[in-house]
Symmetry: C2
Subunit: 348 residues, 2 copies
């Protein structure tokens, strides 16, 4: 963070803390009321449904400390907290532990804790209504109706119940297409040598020795989605099929949410995730599936990352509105801390 | 085992030990030269690629001891050992440790160790050439050409690289179809209430709390394939689709092996696995896929389970031929020990 920002921080006492907490990581930003990011922190998991209370608290505190230390601010400067945590239901169930703990940490702050889907929607669509599709290691869809305020989810079943459209699934389907090409079930594909290379073996036949190792986590497997994207860029038919299938699957989930919320006419549909920007075949297929169900849908890229949604929710707790200036300042200063927060722009 | 058999055992000194060793269990039978099963034993894993040498030896010894104790026979009565162990390649690679250990245990015996695929083929097709498809927790295909003696595998990639046509995949696809029906992506299916019931929850919405528990093993998940079979029996469309897809996938793998071995005309195709007998939609789809690739294929049920294949390989080491009488005696006496060897007839 530059010197100018620190000076500004000293002048502007009111700071909003934004949290984005998932099953692997918790990210936190310290942001001025005007939208200037002063510090960032990353810590361990804070999925409230998976974490013990002690671990949840430790992650929240560690990420906040790191962000405030980088901003050069004391804890008592925090006047609002906006947190989106995995495992908190869209209706607020499961948030109590986090709320009480954050209130005890930041006694002068207003605290808002919502589900991770809520900040994802709010970041992607600051208006707060519409449908957002998330494709990271997992994949899910969340929507809120403008008319009724009702919400709906689709997908989001995880690796067993279904993570159609996720990076993990793209990686898996890429590995499987490569494996099928080995014994002649499918035509040859560049995915076999490419995956072998990414796994660090000379021939894809050796893949079983690697993918079944105990050290091979779901996140590491999911990172192989980039190999599928590269193969598709090179024109590989099997890779393009995998990406198109995944995009259609996630689009169908978005269409299901649109139907469930009885959205008519021009509903807004947005998304988070590296596949949307990196893989045109994926993004196009997603659009095709959404348009088939809802021809008038306005499909647009996200305005802010999920952490931006958490910021807006914190701002609101202070009675502030998300003006264009604030969104602009937030976006610009977020780019400056991308080194601290790799992947802040995507759940992947 | 009845008294009559024990008397026979005392008269007939020459006993063959048959082993079927996998990643979870090792099964062993003590069988007379004439095909009469005198004792059975079950122990832990003996996949030579996954087990430490010590564990491999322990499993082989424990299963053999149990079988011989039940037969009331001393170790020195064993004159031949036929073992099919997972992790041993069809060309014999990886078998050395098991061979040396079994020779040291049974000093008067001729020892033959082959891959688990080899005994599966030999049991299903005693002629020893053709293609066998296995659908248990995992799925794979193995074939041997009559003309050249060449062999080929297809599928068998496991849960990450692809286990198309396996019980695990059928269970997973059934769970996923149920999950998709919840949020309206797919039409309603009886799989949702049936799976909820099998998991012991009142509504399928609660499934995530169960399927992601650490105690939920792959084998336990695979056992949910029976729920899909039951739903299909009740006419459930989604369940029938899952089973048909799985049967086609495994049939395509068999077709790939037929092509790889350049089998012309009337090749024999057989199979092991509960899905073939319990799920007509699965078996029919398998046949359809094989016939599409090889119209003259002779598709028939297995003559013997994989342990029968191990028995035949042990017999051959003694210079004996697999006469009709022997196969008949083996089949009949195997039925009598099904309580000791649950699942001996299927890898599932």
């Amino acid at each position: 963070m530059g010197k100018a920002r620190h000076i500004q921080a000293k002048r502007n006492c009111v700071v909003v803390l934004a949290f984005d907490g998932g099953g692997t990581r918790t990210r936190c930003l310290a942001i001025t009321r005007s939208g200037c990011v002063l510090g960032a922190g990353v810590s361990g998991p804070s999925n409230v449904a998976q974490c013990a209370a002690r671990d949840l608290k430790r992650s929240l505190q560690a990420a906040a400390r790191m962000a405030l230390a980088e901003a050069g601010l004391a804890t008592d400067r925090v006047r609002a907290v906006g947190a989106g945590l995995a495992g908190v239901f869209p209706d607020g169930r499961n948030r109590e532990t986090a709320v009480l703990f954050l209130r005890s940490l930041f006694r002068r702050a207003r605290v808002q804790v919502v589900g991770d889907a809520v900040i994802a929607l709010r970041g992607a669509i600051p208006e707060g209504h519409g449908v957002v599709a998330l494709s990271g290691t997992g994949a899910s869809v969340f929507g809120v109706s403008r008319d009724s305020g009702a919400w709906a989810r689709a997908g989001g079943g995880g690796p067993i119940l279904g993570d159609d459209g996720s990076g993990y699934r793209v990686a898996l389907d890429g590995l499987r297409a490569a494996w099928r090409s080995l014994d002649g079930r499918d035509p040859p594909t560049s995915l076999a040598p490419r995956m072998a290379c990414a796994l660090g073996v000379s021939r894809f036949e050796e893949a079983p020795g690697l993918v079944y190792r105990k050290t091979m986590t779901r996140a590491r497997l999911a990172s192989l989605a980039r190999v599928v994207v590269e193969a598709a860029d090179g024109g590989d038919r099997a890779a393009l099929d995998v990406l198109r299938r995944a995009g259609l699957d996630l689009g169908h989930a978005a269409a299901a949410a649109i139907r469930a919320l009885r959205m008519r006419g021009r509903c807004i549909v947005s998304h988070h995730g590296a596949l949307f920007t990196a893989a045109p075949a994926f993004a196009d297929a997603f659009q095709d599936a959404v348009r088939a169900a809802c021809p008038e849908a306005c499909i647009r890229p996200p305005v802010l990352p999920p952490l931006g949604g958490a910021f807006l929710i914190g701002l609101e707790a202070l009675g502030d509105r998300p003006t264009e200036d604030r969104l602009d300042a937030f976006q610009k200063s977020l780019l400056g801390c991308s080194a601290v927060l790799p992947g802040a722009w995507s759940k992947g």
